[in-house]
Symmetry: C2
Subunit: 155 residues, 2 copies
DNA sequence: TTATGGTTTGATAAACAGTCTCATTATCTA
DNA sequence: TAGATAATGAGACTGTTTATCAAACCATAA
């Protein structure tokens, strides 16, 4: 079966150093806002909407006075550079998470919203086979399983 | 491998009769608007945004004078009753398609937007196994493979 | 058939998410 | 440290989806 939960695989210091290197490489600037956004994403275990991330940052760093536009701009930039990934399901809009974890897919409880992460080698391998069959050059994929979690089944 | 394209599996008359029965069962009314929305979804092979569907209907049935709000309302109702399903990826918003086809997943070209449908038995079976392992009661799932289609690779 | 009451509708206002603009501020490099 | 330029916050703006409500419509039963 090989399904398993995922866990963070990179230290924050390393992540930050890589991020600084990336910015330098692309002639982008290392700003306070960008740093706090990265940090907040790293230390949050949640899948965050831009709005939720904005709130967290306003709470923790009120003096930063970060604007929502910067949150959106930075999330887009981070996603383009494969540092975060986004997940969109239902009407709830996009949710972002730090991609410093290994790739994984999601199981979503439609009752309580709980998101369980997993990786399954059989599925990963099969996706490559399918893409190959259609002459398709796969860059990425996303899989969601919807249903009712253990906890909600017992309520 | 068992991947294959999908095709429509139900006659329109049957679909319409089932729809009428459903409406009656739920004490909802069979209206001209609802009929034309169902019909247009059935005969379109595309994955349609609410806006695109609205345009199609205005072209074909101008005298109906269908409002966009009715399109949204009806699509939601159809989705709740598993008659259509929606697919949302990127910023492009939700696209709807008639679920009278068999279940299938999607392969999306990020260059030209082409959507290829497929079903893969290995993946279908594996998803059940994963849900089972986590004590999760699966209701639905959705998988998208993103990449570059054959055509776009040769451009 | 027609009357009746609840449903559905279209128009339009409102909410909402996300993007754009631009004057000001911050960062980087020499 | 200064100058060039990138990034920022505020808020205007866009496009999409939802809510409101009076008018029209549909199903039912007389
Ligand atoms: Mn995740
Ligand atoms: Mn499809
Ligand atoms: Zn749950
Ligand atoms: Zn293509």
């Amino acid at each position: 079966m090989d399904s398993s939960s995922t866990e963070r695989t990179i230290e924050y210091d390393k992540l930050l150093a890589d991020f600084k290197a990336l910015l330098k490489d692309k002639a982008l600037k290392f700003t306070n806002q960008r740093e706090k956004i990265l940090e907040t994403l790293y230390y949050s275990q949640e899948h965050l909407t831009p709005e939720a991330l904005h709130l967290l940052i306003k709470e923790k760093y009120p003096e930063l006075n970060a604007g929502i536009a910067t949150i959106y701009r930075t999330l887009s930039m981070l996603e383009e550079n494969d540092i975060v990934s986004s997940l969109s399901f239902g009407a709830q809009g996009k949710k972002y998470e730090l991609g410093a974890k290994d790739h994984h897919d999601h199981m979503i409880c439609t009752e309580c919203g709980e998101i369980t992460e997993f990786v399954d080698d059989v599925i990963e391998a099969q996706q490559h086979k399918i893409a190959e069959k259609f002459g398709f050059k796969m860059h990425d994929h996303s899989m969601q399983i919807y249903g009712i979690c253990k906890k909600c089944q017992n309520n």
